[in-house]
C-alpha cells in the first residue's frame, strides 16, 4: 500500500528538503505504522511528530482525507491505498 505524508515547510529539512514523503507499506497499516516507516528513513522527522513513547505530539495534527486523525482512531487510524496524510502544526503560541 502506498501512502504519502505531506509536510509543512517547517519540517521539510528533516526529510532532505522534500515536501512529500512517499511510503510503501505492507498489510493494513495504521498511522502508527506510517510513522514507524518514517522513523526508519527519517528519524529526525519521526521524533518531531511523536515522542519516544510513540504518542503523537500534542500540537501536531495529522489530516487523513480531510479529517484529523484524533477524530478517527488516533495513531490506530487505518490507512487506505493512496492515502494522503497532511501534517499541520496547531495554531498556538504567543
Amino acid at each position: 500500500m502506498r501512502v504519502t505524508l505531506v509536510l509543512p515547510r517547517t519540517l521539510r529539512a528533516e526529510a532532505g528538503g522534500a515536501g512529500k514523503v512517499e511510503l510503501d507499506l505492507a498489510g493494513e497499516p495504521t498511522l502508527a505504522a506510517v510513522l514507524d516507516a518514517v522513523g526508519r528513513e527519517y528519524p529526525g522527522l519521526e521524533r518531531r511528530l511523536r515522542d519516544e513513547t510513540r504518542a503523537l505530539r500534542r500540537y501536531v495534527n495529522f489530516y487523513l482525507d480531510g479529517q484529523e486523525c484524533r477524530a478517527l482512531g488516533g495513531a490506530d487510524s487505518p490507512m487506505r491505498e493512496g492515502a494522503e496524510i497532511r501534517v499541520v502544526a496547531s495554531v498556538a503560541g504567543g
Binding site: 519540517l11 527519517y42 528519524p43 529526525g44 521524533r47 518531531r48 511528530l49 515522542d51 519516544e52 513513547t53 504518542a55 505530539r57 500540537y59 501536531v60 502544526a89 496547531s90 498556538a92 503560541g93
Partner: protein
Amino acid sequence: MVEVLLLIGTRKGLWLGHRRGGAWEVTGPHLPMAEIYAVAADTRRGLRLLVGASSTHYGPSVVTSDDLGRSWQEPQRAPISFPADTGAALERVWQLAPGPEDRQEVVYAGAEPSAVFRSDDGGRSFELVRGLWEHPDRPHWEPGGGGMAVHTVLPHPHDHARVLVAMSTGGVYRTADGGHSWEAANRGVRAYFLPEDEYPRFGQCVHKVARHPAKPERFFLQNHHGVYRSDDAADSWQSIADGLPSDFGFPIATHPHRPDVVYGFPLTADAERFPPQGRCRVYRSEDAGGSWTALSAGLPERFYSAVMRDALCVDGADPAGVYFGSRSGEVYASADDGDSWQQVAAHLPDVLSLRATVL
C-alpha cells in the same frame, strides 16, 4: 578587557552576546521560537556550545555548535530520549553540565521528568542514569511550579565519580560511585510547606545549587525560602539568609576564583514575586554568606521583573564578569565582580538561561 561570549537562552530562541574591546554585539534569534532552558559552554577541548532547545510543537532536543554559533548540529536520532521500558517521554532539558577535566567527553543533562542523562561523546548523545531514575524516593517527588525536573547538575571538578544534583521538588541528591547509587543530601534545608516535618530527608523545593570549583566541598543553595551553605560536601547545610531582604529567589552563583563570594537575586514571596521595594538588586556576599551587599550601580530603580534560576552566571575572568537576565527580556553585565553594571540587551523574550565564557 577580555573577550567574552554570552549565551542568552530565552522563551523564543537563543541570542548570543559577544564583547570585544569593551563593546557588546548581540545577535539572534538563533534557533528561533525554541524555548531555551539550558545553555552551556564546554571549554575543555576548544569551545563547544550546547543548548537544550524545546519546540512547543515538535519536542525537545540538544543542539551543539563548534563555531561560536555560526552553525548548529543535531543528530538524526534523538540526543536524549527515555528508554522504552521507562514509559516516560522527555519534556525538556533543564541543565547541561560539562563533566570533569579528566573525563573530557562527559556531559551531563538534567531533564524533566526528573532524570539525569550522561553523554560520553561531548554532548551529541546521552543515556539515562538509571541509578537516579530507579531511586526508591522517586514516587514521592512532586513537581514544582515549573515542572518536575532536575535543574542543577554539578559534577565534581576532579572526581568523576561524584556528582550532585538538585530537583524541584525533591531536593538535593548526590552520588559517589558514578551514578549507580544516589542519596538525598538535604540535612538542614527547610521545607516549610510540609508542616508535618519541615526538615524531611528529601522533598525540599530547592531552586538552585552552586559549587565553587576551587573549593568543591563547598556549596551554596537557594531554596524556596532559605539560603544555605554547606562546607562538607552537602552532608549538612547552614542558613546564610540573615542580611538578605528576602530569603526567596531562584538563582545562586559562585565567583569563579574567590570561594567566599556568592551572588543571588532575592524576590519577595509567596504572595508576591517582585524584587524587594521594586528595585533591581543583585546581592553579593564576600564572606560565604555571613553578610550581604546590595549591588545597584547601573541597575534600574523601578523593576518588577524576576531572574530565573539559570539566568545569573559568572565568567572566568579576573575580575569576574557577572551577568543576569530577566523575565522582562533585559540582560545586564558587570565586568568588575558586580560593582557596576551595564545593560547589554533589552526587549528580548523572557530570559531563561545564561552562561558566559572568556574567549
